[in-house]
Symmetry: D2
């Protein structure tokens, strides 16, 4: 346990809606099967924004932020999966190791049901950390646990393959990861956004077609036109109530709409049920993925050399500013937060 | 061509909304690859009711009714798939022979885009007829092309297997076929209906749990309770706008909601998008199935000895009465119509 | 930790090829995430026979036997998956929790790479025990970890469903479980054996067709004949070098041969590669399954009420006799060993 | 039918083992649902070589060669799938339109069970022709029906995706197509051959690793080393009896060995059955694919701009020389034959 401090700093939320505040905590040695990760960076997801606003139940006080990257600082007895010094992610769902989603596997989310990543050290099961590709910086690696893996799982659920057409909505972290990963699968990508400047970033990441939804609010018709009337094989829907109906209408027969976000609000979403039936659309809810899926993602990033896109990097004392940026929708891809 | 008459009788709709009227038509010899089927029975689906009301575009005049059973009366040159005398169904989609649905494969529906089954003879590609199980009467066999196959495809799309829990909604033709076929797959079946008398019929076909939705309008909560909170693995949704939201809520994590009907109307259906996402629900639109799927269904019926349930059998001159029964929801399972 | 003794008895193999001998060992309290299982029964697989003969490398001394059933005697800190008193199996691969097989997940086998089940108490991760169906005796439950789960996984790999034809070879533990589970999936079962007496037992468990391979050494031709020339959808091959070629020839186009055993020896098996290619056969190696698969199996047994077949039950001091019975092929289904 | 000649030239085999000889035949107008294709090129597969040697039963005399490309010269009544002038392939299995392989779907092979492509005109069902990508020459397009589609189906059966490792054996037409298509899927490709010159061609097509099997006869060990001990996700085996055992040993746990050829002879192939079982290998026999698969292949070629590799192009009077080249193994990729 040489090298581990007795105490370390964490940013802790005292109660629902409070901002994270710096606290000092004792650091205990990892138990059997556990590791201690020295966190270097985290990134913010819409889900974290909701959490920081106090809208997600769970134990208080707690350390927020589901995503993190750093290196193994210590390993407990019996750990062989990783070694001290390995650069790793922590898993979004630390208890979902592999297989299909089940309530038991998804019962924990870092930052929601237990302490998250906005702290210098995280103690966690060795089964719940994933080695990150060597070519990624800590900040880049910190984009993977939620946004990167959600994009990956969406494409896997839709069996994305060469020749497919994929629609990514907007230029948030999931959507830009969809652009990059879909290209790696050999797909053609249609990217939508209200901003030409943001679309231009998407183009540099490989998007084949750019659709400004301010100019073309009926973007699903543009997708139809771009595909010769056929529609897209996979639409990754991030809006929910504000977009799901159009996503169904943008989808090719027997295609897949991945439901990955509720940016449009937590209410219901209306879908054209006759269209969904007649066109044999598959709508499927995606919640991130398993540790095994995360490993598959990392293997693909290694092979392809893909680097996630991060538009803003802030200090961990600047969480309110990070929240403001996301709420103002100023970011492109991810907002990262470094951990000192 | 011995034995084929020169002329035969058909019930023809002259224009949108007109009732079928008896006409005489010449019977021509089957061309290469074609067969002539002597129709003995048809059955009515909700889809046929809509068609009989004139609400489905297509060529007029035309012979209505998508489903039919009879025997091969003649075969054209080169036909080896069936022989004269074979008892067969015609396919709902005569151009969807196998594989996943595509617009080209689904471009035809008997009774909609071309002449249907309410006639003494149907001339059709030999690839589009399916031998029916010997233990079924013509009337029973006539339930398979649309209702039976829709039930089959729904269970296949949800990968129904032993130990699964399946929800069938109401006691129409699809739903009662779901009851029978799900039991054959080793599943436990929960059947809903507003009528205890109809539920009692479902019980005789194997339904394990009966839920009266007049008594329990929040039937999805009953499904949760019956499954120890887990939800159903497969929910076959026939209502669309009036039921889809509850179907999602009745579904287990990673389970499937098969969208097979729009009995609740042709508008949109609101789904709880957060639930669909968090519970990783698969909603999938089903439109009947292919000839190959139809053959698989028949093979299963042969092995299991399942006999579809028909509550009413009418003469083909009684189409208005058949429509009235369906609109009044008096039927249980299928309404059959014999062809003289 | 009330109620746990300080010391307990185990049957330990001192070195390769030695017979298990009674030893006393200290019992320590379960660590975090661990449970202590009071073992009540184990059953013998061919794999255990090989192990008892000293042919499987691993640490010596060790406690043999991969399969076990008993009840939870104590739980360590943080365990919520099971409670004291729950009747459970231990997992064949305690580190394969879910998902597809990987070397990491399969790195441990009870009795091979670590202590097995021939002892009064087993201390193991709570993630590696599975609640067993209430209707099973301890002895019956002890048949599940290897034989039951291998049968289950074979049928799942072949996507067994209603109307399929399944071939089970011989009347060992895996094959009789295949008979029972295939019937639960709605399949037709063809059972082969050299013994009419053993076939008669298979018939009582549901086998539809019985083929005496002494009488019909070309049993694959009998399978062809019984299936109208089509072949079986799934053949569960237990012999390897002595049977795999015929299994391929017994298989229907696009069917599956599950490779689950090497009863015929550890050498190579010759397959008719032209037949395998032309008939699009899938041969797939099965090694038991994951904890999640084991849970699915148990859920199915609960729903169906299936009870595994055990022909011999011995005391744990009678291991040499258990070995003799298996080598003499006197058993039908499983040989069980009780733990005092 | 303007523009169709009354008579046309074909190369016909009079009896088993005879060389194709020029004959003149009458050209009849296409029947309902049929098209007439003006053939421009064919290519030779190992299967054609066997056929030209007279080793494949079927009707004599017949026109050999399964693969062809040309343009639609005439369409029969009711044909809407293609138009005169469309550049098309004929299908290897003209009766396998879609779905999984069945004996009925695979009952015909051009050149074997009916006349093939070594003729100026082929009359065939409109359902059995496939539009070819515009960027391909006739000769390039003529590589698709057997070799291209076999490669495609192998990768699809193994669910090839980004990050996978694929082994292609040798530099024949299937193997070089595997190289190109696997790269389009985002896979890493290991190519084996006895010739450095041939490997160099494979490298220009994208192969990542080249293994000279004269230098490394234990090539499976090289695959293990190149993959860090893991093995390949997909091995496309073309040798059968001479290679299948090593292919199994080269394969990663849960990976796929596609059995696509019997270049090593028609006898049995020995596989290490213990390895296949313990490593959960999937061996699967591939026979080309369906018309729908062929369409998917063409769509991918269009999107990726892949051009098949042809090392030799001969006149149709040079069939003996084409046979000699293949037997001498002088070719790389495909041997094409033009049709005047």
């Amino acid at each position: 346990m040489t090298g581990l401090p007795d105490r370390y700093s964490a940013m802790m939320i005292s109660e629902a809606g409070a901002m994270p505040e710096l606290v000092e905590r004792p650091l205990v040695a990892p138990g059997p099967g556990e590791v201690v990760v020295r966190m270097r960076a985290t990134t913010m997801n819409f889900h974290d924004l909701v959490n920081l606003k106090g809208l997600i139940r769970g134990p208080w006080p707690r350390v927020p932020m589901s995503d993190g990257a750093g290196e193994i600082a210590a390993i407990g007895p019996g750990v062989r999966r990783v070694a001290v010094g390995d650069r790793v992610n922590t898993a979004f769902h630390p208890t979902w190791l592999a297989g299909r989603p089940t309530p038991a596997r998804k019962r924990h989310i870092l930052g929601d049901t237990c302490d998250g990543c906005l702290q210098q050290y995280v103690t966690i099961s060795a089964e719940a950390v994933i080695k990150v590709p060597a070519h990624l910086s800590d900040i880049e690696a910190a984009t993977l646990p939620c946004a990167g893996l959600t994009a990956w799982s969406s494409l896997r659920e839709g069996a994305c393959s060469v020749g497919d057409v994929v629609v990514a909505q907007g230029t948030g972290g999931v959507s830009l990861a969809v652009v990059q990963l879909a290209k790696a699968h050999g797909a053609t990508v249609i990217l939508t956004s209200r901003s030409d400047a943001k679309l231009a970033v998407g183009a540099t990441l490989g998007a084949d077609h750019l659709v400004n939804t301010t100019q073309f609010p009926e973007w699903h018709l543009v997708v139809r036109e771009l595909t010769g009337g056929r529609g897209a094989d996979i639409v990754v829907d991030v809006g929910g109530s504000t977009s799901l109906g159009r996503s169904v209408q943008a989808c090719a027969m027997d295609g897949t709409v991945a439901i990955v976000g509720v940016l449009g609000g937590f209410g219901g979403a209306e879908i054209p049920v006759g269209v969904a039936m007649m066109a044999n659309i598959h709508l499927v809810g995606i919640t991130v993925g398993s540790v095994a899926d995360h490993e598959d993602l990392c293997r693909t990033l290694e092979v392809t050399g893909i680097r996630p896109y991060v538009s803003h990097t802030l200090a961990w004392t600047e969480m309110p500013e990070a929240m403001r940026i996301m709420e103002a929708n100023e970011h492109i891809g991810k907002i990262a937060v470094t951990i000192p």
